[in-house]
Symmetry: C2
Subunit: 342 residues, 2 copies
Amino acid sequence: MAFLVRTLDELAALSGVSRATVSRVINGGSVSEETRARVTEVLERTKFRPNAAARTLASGRSGIVGVVMHLSPHLLFQDPYFTSLLQGLTDALAHQAAGMMLWLGNRSKEETLDQILWMRLLDGVIVTADTLDDPLVDGLLASDLPTVLIGHRRADRDASYVDVDNVAAADVITTHLLDIGRRRIGHITGRRGTVAGEDRIAGYLQAMARSGIPADDLIVDGAFTAASGREGARELLDRGVDAIFCGNDATAEGALESIRARNLSVPGDVALVGFDDVGFAARLDPPLTTIRQGVQEQGAEAARALFHLLRHRGGGPHRVILPTELVIRRSSVGETKGGRPP
Amino acid sequence: MAFLVRTLDELAALSGVSRATVSRVINGGSVSEETRARVTEVLERTKFRPNAAARTLASGRSGIVGVVMHLSPHLLFQDPYFTSLLQGLTDALAHQAAGMMLWLGNRSKEETLDQILWMRLLDGVIVTADTLDDPLVDGLLASDLPTVLIGHRRADRDASYVDVDNVAAADVITTHLLDIGRRRIGHITGRRGTVAGEDRIAGYLQAMARSGIPADDLIVDGAFTAASGREGARELLDRGVDAIFCGNDATAEGALESIRARNLSVPGDVALVGFDDVGFAARLDPPLTTIRQGVQEQGAEAARALFHLLRHRGGGPHRVILPTELVIRRSSVGETKGGRPP
DNA sequence: CCTAGGCTTGAGAGCGCTTCCATCCCGTAC
DNA sequence: GTACGGGATGGAAGCGCTCTCAAGCCTAGG
């Protein structure tokens, strides 16, 4: 085992230069080729890495970013949306050799905010902004900590964020149902109070209004869950619908069960569409027409946005709207239009 | 907005004491009641929190622990075992107000190890040790960083770890199958090369040997996945078995499909048991007999073990073997013993 | 009354790094 | 030959905190 070099001074002594020069080599300052080569050699031989705390104290930068997804870990880990997001984030952050500190909904938003802000260790933070009223997001934005939102509220127009256009996408998929001749198109909403939920309602209403079809009695509240889909579908079927647009794919999965339970066929009697295109959407029977949003890509893009922010301090906010795609499968345009069973 | 206090010195000036005294108040040193009250008041009024980097540099402690689960985030987030583990960990860590840095399998084990060790920022690290040959775990144990393993290899006897007795549990569930009269009991193993996989084989063999039943031709390799369960079950059914012990619940789920596909009944023709008791085990049809191990509890216990280690530096290793429980459901002792269909 | 000992407090020396500034050296221009 | 400019380097001042040490004060015992 080589002699353990623990400080810049030791490394400097070993290379025959000053501490300042070693620091320049490590951080890419201006150093002559010859000196750089000599120091680099020692650097690699000793596997020396500068002390992160000292570095942070002296420079004000830590190379660590915070990721905040304030919802119950229980919910988070079983929701493909959040796990995909995390996956995209961890990949992009690891790629930039950035450290990641993670905060989930284990403590209150106030405690979490307090811990993050006052630690003064993070270079920046990425936070999911899925709820309309969220003191954690507000607090982060009000602070001087560079912050990137995943999703955004109306009030966040001036913030940096990565998002998709939920209104437009919901309009597109509703229009798809209109295009294939459906008229009484019900909507089981996402969780009320969430940005995505409300925006998808807006997009749905926009498309319905354009085609002149009243939709007042065709909306029931959901919660982004299969259970809410089961219940919402029963309600809508009672009111008589020939299509259902669900707030997300999990909701559609639940709705499918209720439709089946009444011996109705999909899409013969009722066309069914979801939102998100999570893994199981294509594996449902029939496969689900839905809106694909690259969730993992959103995570990666958020990481990139934060790095951009850190590199261009004082620059304006960095906003990214990622594209969505209508994925048509057999739950809306199945080849076999099964009739009502006897 | 109150005047922003950024350093201990400012806070000290505001309270009319020295920086050292403020530090004592914050860190629980010996201070007179009166002084403590005065400083505490200012502390709360200004919402001052010490700079984490400076604190770490001066004291050598950061209040941040690393969590390392080196497998593809894709696999991790869809495996209830790891997500439950993470859930238990985040809860326990948040409870202790400890920060958490997370490393997943985004980069190579060598790169990850390098980053963790040389950052010299973490107080300690918790790492899943599920693979027999794992340079990352070896590297962490060889370092001076306090380390707690989740799971352990034979070579890790002297390390601190949290684990369950996989051998004993596998023996118990195999014995259960023997007790209900099964004789040709097949085993679809977990992923070979993993500690859990190999230990469960050992427990299975131990129980079979005790009852004097040869088991040489009753073992097929699995991989902790439903796909490997489907395949393994077909293989075992060809060889003729009246029970199958699967390496985990996901494997059992797959096996169930293959048994059904041959129009055989569970448990009538083949008794089926799994391991882990993840969420869906009780929801299978029939509900699955399995071994319950409190995975979330393992995560929490690992966090506690690490804190114990940090509080008692220089003390011996801290080892915890958590209990497991045989959960008998209808996949092994169903009320209805359906016969072979026509 | 003097001294020993305990408790509280402040001074100050780092922790290991970054970064400003001064210095030095060399090449070029005059 | 002298003056000047620019790149490379070292010196040293912090970054904000912890923690040792010594000083100061007070009480109690002899």
